[in-house]
């Protein structure tokens, strides 16, 4: 234990083997000539959920994919606990419209288990499905599930990776209130279990319910970063104030 | 589900592996390149089983026009060639592609035409008949495929001192296909056509066609058989090939040829001893 502490001090960051904190420095992202993100400096640390909030087109999803490592920044650097490359298998991602493998529900989870180097054990599959409320649906074709069920199956697949950080991109954007509640409950439970949640939403209410920390984006810039409580009661910037007040921020 | 799917794929694979079976089982065999007339008339279907019964040799016949049959042999893709175009056959042997030409049998050509006979050729000799078709400009179907029948047709036009194949009038239609196709075409167009009697008798789609000219000596059609020269193509199965040739010109083979009849008519007349 002594060794470990010494090492931690040496790199001035979190636990050895951890990817946290993730640090973005001067990150730009351009698609062709269009600037999507500009000059982002941000640190994501271990702890309760970080919510990327902002209107549509503000660059939330792009930022999430950059942090996940699905796309590379056009400028700037991203480090994971001081390293340039994240630890394989440490992160999982749930997409806004998750892809369903053309297989059964159980096979979808089994696939994620195998991809994470885990044994696709039947009991483990059942446990993961129960965790997202899909118990007993093992043999259903995944693509015949409802939108909410598909979203929860995607969550089960993500959890199969036993991630340190779980990224969620607008996980309830196209769901009805009941499905939204189901997904939010799972996310909250996962967050309490110690998994770092980083998610995007344009839904203020969802941000209030889940966020511990809010990162507010508009027009590709990071406008404000604050604890959720402070953000919602005393927004520091004009854009954030208008957004929280329910005005249209373009 | 995965199991079912793989089972389906496995079935296809099993089928594929069975494929090799017929290819391996046919060792004692020769390939004979021959003409459509001998095959389409059913002669081979009658005599080859007799030959196989005696020798155990499988004869695989590739039926083509005479020109193509000789070319197939020249490339070394056949062991024996059995065709009916004497001049071309002699050239084939002279150039060293074949060992020796043996006369086997003859059949005869007949001039076929519509029953209405627009050029009034019925009962004429073949040369006058061709002149009449030419003068009337009546449709005439030519094989145009360098087959033995085509060669015979060209020879007859030449003897009649006409050259429609050269001047290509609109009534002279070269189709570049086999005998059966030529008859089908002639039937459809109400045209005249030169055919070998064997194919004509066994042809099923006669409808408005009938024989208008026959029996003219110039219409006799000699068949010859040649072993492909093993010096040019060492893989030629010369023993089996020669056995086949020897059998064809033997009394037994000649008798088998004479025995073959369709609707009571003899199609081929063996003449290994007297033929040229």
């Amino acid at each position: 234990m002594l060794d470990r502490t010494a090492h931690n001090v040496a790199i001035g960051a979190g636990v050895v083997g951890s990817d946290l904190p993730i640090r973005l420095t001067g990150v730009d992202y351009r698609a062709g000539t269009v600037s999507i993100l500009c000059g982002i400096d941000l640190e994501i640390s271990a702890g309760l959920p970080t919510v990327l909030l902002g209107p549509n087109g503000s660059g939330k999803t792009t930022l999430l994919k950059l942090v996940m490592g699905l796309i590379a920044p056009t400028a700037g650097t991203i480090t994971y606990n001081g390293r340039e490359r994240p630890t394989p298998g440490s992160r999982a991602f749930v997409f806004q419209k998750p892809m369903m493998l053309r297989r059964s529900v159980a096979a979808n989870v089994a696939y994620a288990l195998k991809a994470a180097g885990r044994r696709p054990d039947r009991l483990e599959i059942a446990r993961l499905l129960a965790e997202v409320g899909l118990a007993g649906m093992e043999d259903r074709p995944a693509r015949k599930l409802s939108g909410g069920e598909q979203q929860r199956l995607a969550l089960a697949r993500a959890l199969a990776r036993e991630p340190e950080v779980l990224f969620l991109d607008e996980p309830t954007a196209s769901l009805d209130p009941a499905s939204t509640k189901a997904v939010e409950d799972i996310v909250a439970r996962v967050a309490r279990s110690g998994v770092k949640i980083v998610m995007t939403t344009h839904d203020l209410g969802q941000a209030r319910r889940l966020a511990s920390e809010v990162v507010f984006l508009a027009k590709g810039r990071l406008i404000e970063r604050a604890p959720a409580e402070a953000f919602f009661t005393q927004p520091a910037t004009d854009e954030a104030r208008r957004f929280v007040a329910g005005e249209l921020v373009l | 589900m995965r199991v079912r799917f793989l089972a389906f794929a496995a079935a296809a694979l099993a089928a594929a592996s069975l494929m090799t079976a017929p290819a391996v089982a046919q060792d004692k065999s020769i390939i004979v390149s021959s003409t459509t007339s001998t095959q389409d008339s059913g002669l081979f279907g009658y005599i080859l089983p007799k030959f196989k019964e005696k020798t155990g040799i499988d004869v695989k016949v590739v039926a083509q026009g005479t020109g193509q049959a000789l070319d197939t042999a020249r490339r070394g893709d056949a062991d024996v060639v059995f065709v009916h175009a004497k001049a071309q056959e002699e050239k084939f042997v002279a150039e060293g592609w074949g060992v020796k030409r043996y006369p086997v049998m003859y059949n005869d050509f007949v001039l076929i035409g519509p029953k209405s006979d627009p050029a009034k050729v019925k009962g004429k000799d073949i040369l006058s008949a061709l002149k009449a078709i030419h003068d009337a400009g009546a449709p005439f179907v030519s094989r145009g495929d360098k087959s033995g029948t085509h060669a015979a047709e060209l020879r007859l036009w030449k003897e009649a001192e006409l050259d429609p194949a050269g001047s290509k009038p609109s009534w002279y239609r070269e189709i570049g296909q086999g005998m059966g196709a030529a008859l089908n075409t002639a039937n459809a167009m109400g045209a005249y056509v030169l055919a070998d009697r064997g194919t004509w008798i066994s042809f099923k789609n006669k409808e408005q066609l009938e024989i208008l000219v026959e029996g003219d000596e110039r219409l006799f059609n000699q068949y010859g058989v040649i072993l492909v020269n093993p010096e040019k193509h060492p893989h030629v199965k010369k023993e089996y090939g020669q056995q086949f040739i020897d059998w064809l010109i033997s009394d037994e083979g000649q008798q088998a040829i004479a025995e073959y009849k369709i609707e009571g008519q003899q199609l081929f007349f063996p003449n290994a001893k007297s033929g040229s």
Binding site: M99, S104, R143 | A16, D77
Partner: protein, 229 residues
């Protein structure tokens, strides 16, 4: 022969007809099998990799879908003829030569169509598989497996094309009775003999067979889809 003769041959289980049908199926199924063995990975590689001239390869593959069977037959004939480069193998006028010709004929069809299907699926799966940190080989396996229904349909298209063609097998097989005679060459032969009713009857048998094979694949597909999505 009478109009009913083809039907009679079927009903009486005529041995010659059975042998011809069997050879047709064997040749075409084998060709489909080998074309799949070459065409599916080829389609996957072109779909998933980037290399100079990739667009040219796609255009050529798409164009080769329309290869005329006669031309394929002629090329394979020249290749396998005793006077050709592969002459010493002695394959001309054998069922093997027919399998080769049909394989050449339909490999581009299978490669071009599977390239399209796999590329479309890859567009859908790409980010998710990246997020799951799946390696290249597993990606290909995943895409091939998840595209299996579309790929089977593609194989059937290849099968249908090979089963229906006459030009290539006629040239390289030689239409030798009891050896390389298949349904299409029999139909061509019977037509040339003016035996139109029998030719049409055999044509019906051929069409029925192709429909039967397709129905079978359709049933498998429906069954699996209901169980796996």
């Amino acid at each position: 022969m009478e109009a009913s003769s083809a039907l009679e041959l079927i009903l009486t289980g005529d041995a010659t007809l059975f042998a011809i049908v069997r050879l047709s199926l064997l040749v075409t199924l084998s060709a489909t099998f080998f074309a799949a063995l070459i065409g599916l990975p080829l389609g996957a590689i072109v779909a998933l990799t980037n290399f100079p001239g990739r667009h040219a390869v796609i255009v050529v593959l798409n164009g080769l879908m329309g290869l005329p069977p006669v031309v394929v037959g002629l090329l394979v004939f020249l290749l396998l003829s005793r006077s050709g480069p592969l002459g010493p193998l002695g394959l001309l006028f054998t069922p093997t030569a027919m399998v080769i010709a049909q394989t050449v004929l339909i490999t581009p069809i299978i490669a071009a169509l599977s390239r399209q299907v796999i590329e479309d699926l890859w567009t859908e799966y790409r980010e998710e598989l990246m997020a799951m940190e799946v390696g290249p080989l597993t990606r290909v396996k995943t895409l091939l497996w998840d595209a299996r229904y579309s790929l089977v349909t593609i194989l059937l298209a290849g099968f249908g094309r090979a089963a229906a063609e006459v030009g290539a097998v006629m040239i390289v097989g030689g239409n030798i009775e009891n050896f390389t005679r298949v349904m299409t060459t029999t139909i061509a032969l019977e037509t040339s003999k003016g035996n139109l009713p029998l030719a049409i009857g055999l044509g019906m048998v051929l069409i029925t067979l192709i429909i039967f094979v397709n129905a079978l694949a359709w049933a498998v597909r429906r069954w699996s889809e209901a169980h796996a999505g």
